[in-house]
Amino acid sequence: MAETITIEVARYRPEQEAEPTLQSYEVPFNKDWVVLDALNYIKDHVDGSLSFRWSCRMGVCGSCGMTVNGEPKLTCATFLSHYHPGPIRVEPLRNFPVVRDLVIEMTDFMEKLQSVKPWIVREDDPAPAEGEFLQTPEQLDKYKQFSMCINCMICYAACPVYGLDPQFVGPAAIALAQRYNLDSRDQGKQERMDVLSQHEGIWGCTFVGECTEVCPKNVDPAGAIQQYKLAATQEWFKSFLMPWSKP
């Protein structure tokens, strides 16, 4: 028989248990398999009751974030061979309530994301017929890194500040706010600043830096937050010294 590897999966079935438990499954050890493949194997061939989110299998949709051996990972980009000979422990993302098995409740994140208006805000809002907004490659380069975010919430799972204080807006939302602030077509900087300059906005961050370490897309939310702090501080002093100047 071909080699197998043990996957210990966190199970939580709210209708029958109060606390999550671990359940072990043996899956074929296939060098080309990622953790998500193993979970799908279990779902298809061993235990159909296992619940987890996934979609694209190629690191684009951001659905399959889970805790693999204690680290928040995209399970579609985490190879079994990396953990050979196992066992591999798969748990739901930390810092979020668990709905069932590996499925977390993400309403909180969705609301935070929306609160920072991650879209192009215009004061004039011209009709589409008037043509597109033009942008140079240099202007694109300024925010491109932050636009790679796929909302996988892995940075939230790694952020101790979010874990300790769920009011904190959190890494991805702030990075995306910065992505639009740096966009030459955007005019919504001030509206976002009003949300993020509160204590639960950028000021809650203590620059642990783990969000940047774990990000599968190299977005660097920690950098975005510090840059935001610097900008907010400059603006604070400006409005303090020159209260008549319009921000």
Partner: protein, 139 residues
């Protein structure tokens, strides 16, 4: 940030794990963060020593000599040794993190982090050398 809607906050069946008080001991990078933050205690500790030195300096040569002898207390030397390591850690982490907070751009391109951090080290070296020179200069 306004609290989330009631729908997402008080669901009885969801399982929530509380962050343990010792969360920072779970992982090396978290521990490093905690040590970095604790370096501030030794920053304040040094300021206290500096204030005591100024106090002794203001009271005259005898008081200053007394202060210098007090600094030779072995317990204080050990504490200062630990403090030195911590402020060194503070300096290095601080210099290395500046490029993250400042996206320096030159001719439309972002400068690599190393180039932004390097001047910090140059200034650090120069300032330290200047202080040693001022204090050790003869006559």
């Amino acid at each position: 940030m306004k609290p989330s809607t009631a729908y997402s906050q008080y669901h009885p069946k969801w399982h929530r794990t509380r962050v343990s008080t010792l969360w920072w001991s779970r992982k090396w990078s978290y521990l490093k963060f905690m040590l970095r933050e604790l370096s501030s205690v030794f920053v304040a500790f040094y300021v206290v020593i500096l204030l005591l030195q100024l106090h002794a300096l203001g009271r005259g040569p005898e008081a200053y000599l007394e202060f210098q002898l007090w600094l030779q207390n072995p317990l204080l030397v050990v504490l200062n040794g630990i403090g030195f390591l911590f402020v060194l850690f503070h300096a290095v982490t601080w210099f290395n993190l500046t490029p993250k907070a400042m996206a320096v751009r030159l001719r439309g391109r972002r400068l690599p982090n190393v180039l932004v951090a390097a001047p910090n080290y140059a200034v650090w070296l120069a300032v330290s050398a200047l202080i040693v020179f001022l204090l050790m200069r003869q006559g």
